[in-house]
C-alpha cells in the first residue's frame, strides 16, 4: 500500500516538475517577447510618437471627444435633463438659431462690449507701456502691481467691481458722490452697465496689452533713435517711423487675443449685471450658458456654440489675411 502511494507521489512529483519546466520556458519566452516589444517600441524612430501619445490621448479625451460629441448633438433632438435617447434633427437647430432674433440681439450686445473693451485696453495698455518703457524709481515694483489684476480670477474681479459700483457703499460710488454730491447708479442704464463691464474687463486685461507693447518698445535698437535725432525727427515722426513699426505686430496680436477672449466674456458680465438691466448686457456667452445649463436646450446651445466658433474662426482668418496683406505690401 505504501509502495503504491509512494510511486503515485513520485509520479505526481515528476508531473509537477514538468509543469514547472513548461511554465519556466513559457515565462522565458514571454520575457524574450516583451524585451523584443520594448526594443521595438523604444526604437528612436518611434520615440517621438511615444512621448507625444499621452498628451494626445489626454487632449482627445478632454477636448476633441467632447467637441465631436457636442457637434454631433447639434444635429439631434436632445435634452441633457432627459433620459430619452437623441433623435436625428438634421440642420433644424442651426436654422432655429440663425432665425432667432434674440441671438442677433445678443451678438450686437457682444459686439458693442468687444469693441469698447478692446479699444479701451489698447489705449490704456499702450499708454502704460510707454510709461514703463522709461526708467524711473520703483518701476519694477509698480509694474508688478499693475500686472496683478491679470492674475486674478474672473469671479474675484466681478465681485470686486460689483461692490465698487454699489450705490450706497461702493468705493467708486462714494468717490463720485464726494465730487458730485449725487448718488451714482452706474448699472441702472444700458450704457452705464456696459461701461461698468468694460471698465472691469479693461482693468483686468490692459496689463496684458501693456506687456506685449512693452516687449515691442524695448526691442527698438537705440541706434535708430540716435539716427532719428540726427535727422532732427519730431516726437511724432520718431513714433511713426521708428517705434510703431516695431510695436505694430505685437499690438495686432494683442487685438487678436483680446477680441477672441472678450467675445467669450461670461464671468464678469454674469456677476456684475447678470445681463441686466433687462437684457441690455447679456452677451452671447451668457445666452449660451442659460440655454445649455438652465433651459437644458442641449442641441440648440450646441448649434449656437458652433456658430460662435465659426464666427471667431472667420474673424481670426480675416484678421490674419489683412495682416499678411499689409506685411506683403510693406515688403
Amino acid at each position: 500500500m505504501s509502495n503504491i502511494i509512494s510511486s503515485a507521489l513520485r509520479g505526481q512529483f515528476r508531473q509537477t516538475n514538468e509543469v514547472e519546466k513548461q511554465q519556466s520556458t513559457t515565462q522565458q519566452t514571454g520575457k524574450v517577447q516583451m524585451n523584443a516589444f520594448y526594443k521595438w517600441l523604444l526604437d528612436p524612430k518611434r520615440r517621438g510618437a511615444l512621448l507625444v501619445t499621452p498628451a494626445v490621448l489626454l487632449l482627445f479625451v478632454m477636448n476633441i471627444f467632447p467637441l465631436m460629441w457636442s457637434f454631433g448633438l447639434s444635429f439631434f433632438h436632445f435634452k441633457a435633463s432627459s433620459m430619452k435617447p437623441p433623435r436625428f434633427a438634421g440642420f433644424y437647430y442651426y436654422e432655429k438659431v440663425l432665425a432667432d432674433p434674440v441671438v442677433w440681439d445678443r451678438f450686437q450686445t457682444t459686439a458693442a462690449i468687444v469693441s469698447l473693451s478692446v479699444l479701451t485696453q489698447l489705449v490704456i495698455g499702450s499708454a502704460l507701456a510707454l510709461l514703463f518703457a522709461k526708467k524711473f524709481p520703483l518701476r519694477r515694483e509698480i509694474l508688478m502691481m499693475i500686472l496683478t489684476p491679470m492674475m486674478l480670477s474672473f469671479v474675484a474681479v466681478g465681485v470686486f467691481f460689483k461692490l465698487f459700483y454699489e450705490p450706497t457703499f461702493g468705493i467708486i460710488s462714494q468717490a463720485y458722490m464726494y465730487f458730485s454730491g449725487e448718488t451714482m447708479t452706474l448699472l441702472a442704464t444700458k450704457w452705464g452697465a456696459i461701461a461698468g463691464i468694460v471698465i472691469a474687463d479693461a482693468w483686468m486685461w490692459s496689463p496684458f496689452v501693456m506687456l506685449l507693447v512693452l516687449a515691442g518698445l524695448v526691442s527698438v535698437p537705440d541706434y535708430l533713435y540716435e539716427a532719428a535725432d540726427v535727422d532732427r525727427a519730431t516726437p511724432w515722426e520718431r513714433f511713426k517711423t521708428v517705434t510703431f513699426p516695431y510695436v505694430k505686430g505685437l499690438l495686432l496680436l494683442a487685438v487678436l487675443f483680446r477680441t477672441i477672449e472678450t467675445f467669450k466674456l461670461f464671468d464678469i458680465v454674469y456677476i456684475i449685471t447678470a445681463g441686466g438691466p433687462g437684457t441690455s448686457t447679456e452677451t452671447i456667452a451668457v445666452y449660451v450658458y442659460r440655454m445649455a445649463f438652465q433651459f437644458f436646450k442641449t442641441s440648440q446651445s450646441s448649434a449656437l456654440s458652433y456658430i460662435l466658433l465659426f464666427v471667431v474662426i472667420v474673424l481670426t482668418n480675416l484678421y490674419l489675411y489683412f495682416v499678411n496683406q499689409r506685411n506683403e505690401g510693406a515688403s
Binding site: Y165, L186, P277, R290
Partner: protein
C-alpha cells in the same frame, strides 16, 4: 467566586450578548446615504445631528454623508450630477421649482407606493404643514403624487428697527404726518398694508446728518426695501406676492392644458400688483434702480443700519440678529409682512421659500428604505424641535403648536402665521425659461425701461408661446 458573583457575571454577559444581537445582527450592512445639499446652517445642522443621533431602526450601519455645495454653484452642480448619469446621490435638496425638470428627466422618485405602505410616513405627512407638502412634494403641482419632503421651510417676514419704530418722537411725527400709528409691536404690524409700508418708506428717508430716532444718521438712511434683483428669482420672489394679493394669477400649471397665460398673467389685477411693487421701490436704497437689490443686498444694508425695515426670507436675514455681522443685532425685531386690503381683509399671499429633499431613482430597494428612514428621522418631533432651536424652521404643525415654539427664534411667530398664505410658482421643466424671461421683464420695469403693463404683456405672450410649444397649453 461566589455563586452570587457567578450569577451576576452570567446575567451581565448574557445582557451584553443580547444587546449586540439586537443592535448589530449578523447581516447588518454598512450603507452610506449621499445627499447633495447647499452649504449653510440648516444642512450643517442636519449632518451634525445625524452624526450624533441617527441610528437606523433596520439594524444596518447607515451613515448620512452630506456633500455641502456652495449656494452660488448649487444648481449647476446638482444639475450636472443629475444629467451626467453619475448616480452619486441618494438624497438631493432641491428648490421646489426644479423638481419637474428632474421628475420628467427620470431622476427624482415618486414616493406614493412607499407612503401608502408605511403608516409612520403617512402620519408624518399629516403633521407636515399642508402648504409645504403642496409646494415641496407634489408634481404636477397640487396633485396627489408625492416626490419630496421639507428639508428647510422658509417664508418672508418683516425685519424692522424697534429702536426707531418704537421711538416716541418718531411715533408722534408719523402720526402727525399720516394720521396712522407707526407700528412698534408685532400686533401693530398685523394691520400694516403696502400703503402704510410706503408711508414708512417715505417717512424714514433721511439724508446724512439728519435726526433719526434718538440720534442722527451718519449716512443717507432709507425707509424700506424688499428684493428686486435680476439674479435667479430675486424679484419674482416678491413681485408675485403683489400679483396674488391684488387678485391676479400666474399660469396655472395644475390645470393643464386648459389654463392660458395671455389674459391671465397680464390681467388688470396682475398689472396693478406689479405697478405697486415697482412704485414702492422709490423709497428703497439707490441700488434698487440698478436691478441688483437681491436678498443678500437688502440683508447687508439692513445689517449695516442703513434701512428701517425690510421684507426678506427669515433664513437669510437671521444674520441680522448676529452681532458679529450686524450693527443692529440688538435693535431688530420681526413681524408679519404687509398685506393688501381685499374686501375688508388683509390678504398676505406670498411666494413659498425653502427647499424640499427628494429621493433619486437609481437606488436599490434597501437603499430607498434606508433613505426613507432618514426622512422619518428628520421629520420626527425631536429632530424638528432641535432643528428649530439651532438653525432652522420646523415643518411639523405639532412642533409649531408647542407653547415654547414662538419664543425659540424671533421670527418663529411670524413664520408660523404666514405659512398658510404661501403658494409656489411653476414646477414644470420649462421653469427656468419662464423664470428667466419673467426676471428680465421685471428688471426692465424696475429699472424704468418699461411699464408694468408692457412687462406683464411681454411675459404673458412669451409664456403662451413657450407653453403651447411644450404642449402644456391647448
Amino acid at each position: 467566586m461566589s455563586t452570587l458573583r457567578k450569577l451576576t457575571s452570567t446575567i451581565a454577559l448574557g445582557a451584553v450578548v443580547g444587546a449586540f444581537a439586537v443592535q448589530a445582527p449578523a447581516h447588518a450592512k454598512d450603507i452610506t446615504i449621499q445627499m447633495a445639499a447647499p452649504d449653510w446652517g440648516p444642512t450643517r445642522f442636519m449632518q451634525d445631528y445625524a452624526n450624533k443621533t441617527y441610528k437606523s431602526p433596520t439594524g444596518n450601519n447607515v451613515k448620512l454623508a452630506i456633500d455641502f455645495i456652495p449656494w452660488g454653484s448649487f444648481y449647476d452642480r446638482v444639475a450636472a450630477s443629475m444629467t451626467s448619469g453619475e448616480k452619486k446621490y441618494q438624497l438631493v435638496v432641491s428648490d421646489s421649482q426644479w423638481i419637474g425638470t428632474f421628475i420628467e428627466g427620470g431622476q427624482f422618485m415618486k414616493l406614493n407606493k412607499y407612503i401608502d405602505a408605511d403608516a409612520e410616513l403617512q402620519n408624518i405627512l399629516k403633521d407636515v404643514h399642508p402648504a409645504l407638502t403642496e409646494s415641496y412634494g407634489t408634481y404636477p403641482y397640487k396633485s396627489k403624487n408625492i416626490y419630496g419632503f421639507p428639508q428647510m421651510p422658509d417664508t418672508k417676514v418683516t425685519f424692522y428697527r424697534k429702536d426707531l419704530f418704537c421711538d416716541d418722537g418718531e411715533q408722534a411725527a408719523f402720526k402727525a404726518k399720516y394720521s396712522k400709528t407707526l407700528p412698534c409691536t408685532y400686533e401693530d404690524w398685523e394691520s400694516v398694508d403696502w400703503d402704510t409700508w410706503g408711508n414708512i418708506g417715505e417717512f424714514f428717508r433721511r439724508d446724512a446728518g439728519s435726526k433719526l430716532g434718538s440720534g442722527t444718521t451718519p449716512d443717507d438712511f432709507y425707509g424700506i426695501a424688499y428684493q428686486a434683483g435680476k439674479t435667479y428669482d430675486f424679484s419674482s420672489g416678491q413681485a408675485l406676492a403683489f400679483v396674488w394679493q391684488n387678485g391676479g394669477m400666474i399660469w396655472d400649471e395644475s390645470n393643464q392644458p386648459n389654463a392660458q397665460a395671455v389674459g391671465v398673467v397680464n390681467s388688470a389685477a396682475a398689472v396693478k400688483g406689479i405697478a405697486k411693487y415697482v412704485d414702492l421701490l422709490k423709497y428703497s436704497p439707490p441700488v434698487a434702480k440698478t436691478g441688483q437689490m437681491g436678498i443678500f443686498a437688502i440683508n447687508n444694508l439692513f445689517s449695516q443700519g442703513k434701512i428701517a425695515a425690510i421684507v426678506n426670507w427669515n433664513a437669510v436675514s437671521a444674520t441680522a440678529f448676529d452681532p458679529k455681522s450686524s450693527t443692529v443685532a440688538d435693535k431688530t425685531a420681526v413681524a408679519l409682512p404687509p398685506g393688501t386690503m381685499h374686501n375688508g381683509e388683509l390678504v398676505r399671499w406670498d411666494v413659498m421659500g425653502g427647499q424640499p429633499f427628494v429621493l433619486t431613482t437609481w437606488n436599490s430597494d434597501e437603499v430607498v428604505k434606508e433613505s426613507l428612514e432618514v426622512v422619518k428621522w428628520w421629520l420626527s418631533k425631536d429632530t424638528q424641535l432641535n432643528f428649530a432651536k439651532k438653525s432652522g424652521n420646523s415643518a411639523l404643525q405639532s412642533v409649531m403648536a408647542m407653547p415654547e415654539y414662538d419664543g425659540i427664534k424671533p421670527w418663529n411667530r411670524a413664520h408660523k402665521n404666514v405659512l398658510k398664505w404661501q403658494k409656489d410658482f411653476w414646477h414644470v421643466p420649462e421653469f427656468f425659461e419662464l423664470l428667466t424671461q419673467q426676471q428680465e421683464e421685471f428688471d426692465k420695469a424696475i429699472t424704468g425701461q418699461s411699464s408694468a403693463k408692457d412687462a406683464m404683456d411681454s411675459i404673458a405672450a412669451f409664456q403662451q408661446e413657450l407653453l403651447t410649444e411644450a404642449g402644456r397649453i391647448n
